[in-house]
């Protein structure tokens, strides 16, 4: 049970990869905490301070 699963939407993943965003540190705002495209857009715009790493 070591690794925590990261939930991210397919569109968000594409966007993150293209913009070199490390989404493993983001906490998502979708239901159940999924990272959404909007979360990545905010990260690209530098809006969302990336929260502390998951334990």
């Amino acid at each position: 049970e070591g690794v925590e699963k990261i939930k991210i939407t397919p569109a968000a993943r594409k966007l993150a990869q293209e913009n070199g965003i490390d989404y493993t540190n983001l906490s998502g705002t979708g239901p159940g905490g999924r990272i959404t495209r909007e979360d990545i857009e905010k990260a690209i715009a530098g809006l969302a301070p990336e929260p502390a790493k998951r334990e």
């Binding site: 939407t9 397919p10 569109a11 979708g30 239901p31 999924r34 959404t36």
Partner: protein, 468 residues
Amino acid sequence: MRKRIVIIGGGPGGYVAAIRGAQLGAEVHLVESDRLGGTCLNIGCIPTKTLLHTAELYRIVKNGAKIGLKTDGLRVEWPVLMKRKEAVVNSLVQGVTALLKANKVAVYKGHAVLQDERTVKIDAPTPQTLSADAIILGVGSVPVKPPFPGADLPNVLDSTAALSLPEIPSSLVIIGGGVIGTEFAALYNSLGTKVTVVEMLPEILPAVDGQIVSVIKKDLSSRGVDFLTEARLSEVRDAKKGLTAKVLTGQNQLEINGEYVLVAVGRRPNTENLGLESVGVKTEKGAILVNEHFETNVPGIYAIGDCNAQTMLAHVASAQGIRAVEHALGYRSFYNRKVLPYCIYTSPEVAGVGLTEEQARNQGLSYRTGIFPLAGNGKSIIEHCENGLVKIIADTKYKEILGVHIVGPHATDLIAEGALAISLEATVEELIALIHAHPTISEAVAEAAHAVIGNPIHWPPGVKKDIM
């Protein structure tokens, strides 16, 4: 301290909010002046779909010679169907009553008004006031009654009256080609009524994707429904048998005869006599203005469902009710206004979610479409229903699914996959990679996704798909 929530209106907005509030531990009070279940259960979704279920089975089987059915003597027993409609409605209303009781929601029968920002007054039968930490308004909508000459003639109907006719009419003129008008057209056409639909706009079903509209319109036309578009009702008059509707189309004046005229030109928020002004709740053209939590300008007062006029659908009312009560109780809540599916229970069915092509174009988005005609889908051929199609709209860059539109068998259940795809921000690749069971209509969803970026498997390359 348990929070007290008072809800006005027991439709799918109000009763669902009440149950959700109770589930979350609130003390919930619900006031309903008429029957629990609101428009939806009593005079909307449920009775229309009950009638349509029998009518469409009847039509399909009546035309069943080709699929091996011999149908001498098949007919609809209208009085039995009317009773069944009552029975279904009653059982669902009783179900809601029982659910509210099981969830310990206090239900009051009477007309409620806002007395102040935290108090609701019930005026009948025994006047009483309820104080609240939050108030949720779910007062619904009522049919718009345009004031044309003849509007008050006895055989001029609204949608409620059209559910309880003494017998199947020989002919019917429907004013308004929106969802409700179109469903009634399908219903009575299937039952053998001569139906004419009169629509003011250039096309029926204005909110639906244009290519989908042309399929369903062609289908209904081929079954004998007459559509008059850009046509305006000027007057209804008594005729020898039934009524005559005078209609202007361009320069022409037409007279259409019908046993009844059904007026289905829209619904408006039911926000009069609610005390909104006295507590300062803002409205626009009768619709209560709300923020993204469905809270009005008066903090602690929410307005959900038809009365805020955002999207007049039962499941949207329920979803807003859940969101409002969750917000009132301090929970984080999700409401994705991009993912509000709609359904039209014609046969074939119509359903859609997300952007139509017209919306994508008007918003100036860079998009691509993929279409798969059900003539290439085995199950549609088995169900003798090859005229449908699935249309997907995806953004050009990431191929993210923006809209899914279906006209075909089971469209109203199939649309859930499209809704999930949009809400999870899926791309066409994920829909293509998903293995869809065979033989199902849902295979056409993957094929339409395929068509966005290339060629579907079951359609010849280079053959135009969008002309049915």
